[in-house]
Amino acid sequence: MLPIDAAAHGSRWRRRHPVDKAVLGLGLTALAVALPPWPGAPLVLVSALALLLGPAGVPWRRLWRAYRVPWGFCLTGAVTLLFEVGGPDGPVGLAEGGPVRAGELLLRTSAASLGVLLFAFTTPMSDLLPRLVRARVPAPVVDVALVTYRMGFLLLDSLHRIRQAQAARLGHASRAAEWRSLAGLGATAFVRAFARASRLQDGLAGRGYDGTLRVLVPEARVSVPFTVASVALLVVVAALTGVLVEVGA
């Protein structure tokens, strides 16, 4: 299981309805994108971080491990805004206002990523996917996503073992061997995926498969107090940003 999904299964908010957590986490992400980066993004960032490490109970090491990947890419992505092509200083020069734009972008992406992580770290995919049918996502698409999700872990596990076996047989000893091993890995993933689907089909056919995958979903109700509190927090963050912008202006 992937680290974020594993953490979501053990989260304190595991039993909460996904809508509760979507309003809060994705609402913060929406604010991070929609509000002025300064001071909106820092407010969203602090709120999301406090919720993640506080009520949601996500260990900070686990959070950092997941967060450092998008954050690192946001950082290097923002660096390119410092430069421009074809300016008055030559073919490549420092962009006017580049540091401000880069800083704003970094703030916005950092805050937005934390909002999504708040949702992801508290909501297992197995809780979310079956409920997408109620959001009018066609049932066949949800079924395909469910099979993809469950089979993906098995295939990744297979790839890991095959790669270990290849390494033990000096499959990565030279560049040519590396290419051969990689091609074998890709082809084996395809073969195993289809073989597994075929076996799954046989097993389901024996159980009267009619084209619908029925899975148990833990019961949960949308919590009105939680949702109201979430909306209140979002309103406070938005209002505070507006006030600070006015004061700054």
Binding site: G86, G87, M125, G186, A193, A197
Partner: protein, 254 residues
């Protein structure tokens, strides 16, 4: 720019490490695009995804067993990006898989499978994002597969051997994805003096240096994978329409 994963490590010891190295090469990160751009790219992607969803729904209603095969295809697409790809420059990155996916499963289905994969990557790996899902879908699940598939099909129609066509498909799919990402970023972040074209030149140059070698690498890898598949999985390839049934050595352009 959208950062490019460049790795030089050799061993991968755990699944987690494999997944931490899944390529975010062309994923535009969460919150990277201004709201108007995020919405616009979502709107641009929607018709292709809806078309794919209709194709997929029709296929599943007519053949219920297809759910499992399509799920397997989605899982294959998902793990394909976990493979480490040695670049011809000596560094290492990950394949996009859009070309191979389009050749095997066709672009409409890839629009759906790609969207599902990008959603999983955003939520399970923190790669890409939900606000940038539309932009990422447009480049990686729409333009990449369609351009790659067009190159593959044109190559086959012009009489090129299967493997040359597969290389062309994978190469074009990879490169076109990067080109679209460059355009998306240049539109969102035009240069103060050079404007859109200045920014496009900047992003395009950065991508060209890193991604043309990677596109060549992905083309080579896709050819190797397809060669193995024609030897080991002729039946499945025939079912997918890549090979003529019963003649594993002959291939057709669909």
């Amino acid at each position: 720019m959208v950062p490019v994963s460049q790795e030089t490590g050799q061993g991968v010891s755990t699944i987690h490490e494999v997944l931490e190295r899944v390529c975010p090469a062309m994923h535009i990160a969460e919150g990277f695009l201004p709201p108007a751009h995020a919405v616009a790219w979502g709107v641009a992607s929607a018709p292709f995804v809806v078309h794919g969803v209709r194709s997929l729904t029709r296929e599943v209603r007519e053949h219920p067993e297809s759910t499992l095969l399509l799920g397997a295809s989605g899982a294959f697409t998902f793990v394909l990006s976990a493979l480490k790809l040695p670049s011809v420059t000596g560094s290492c990155s990950h394949p996009t898989g859009t070309g191979l996916g389009a050749i095997l499963f066709r672009p409409p289905v890839m629009a759906v499978l790609g969207t599902i994969t990008l959603l999983f990557q955003a939520l399970l790996l923190a790669h890409g994002g939900l606000t940038t899902l539309g932009a990422n879908v447009f480049s990686m699940a729409v333009v990449g597969p369609w351009a790659g598939y067009a190159a593959y099909r044109l190559s086959r129609r012009s009489g090129l051997p299967l493997m040359a066509a597969v290389f062309a498909g994978a190469f074009v799919a990879d490169l076109s994805t990067y080109c679209v990402t460059s355009v998306q970023l240049a539109l969102a972040f035009p240069d103060p003096s050079g404007g859109f074209l200045g920014a496009l030149g900047k992003f395009g140059t950065i991508f060209a240096v890193t991604q043309i070698p990677l596109a060549v690498s992905e083309g080579l890898l896709t050819v190797l994978v397809m060669r193995l598949l024609t030897q080991s999985s002729g039946g499945e390839l025939a079912r997918l329409g890549v090979l003529v049934a019963g003649k594993s050595s002959r291939a057709v352009a669909r």
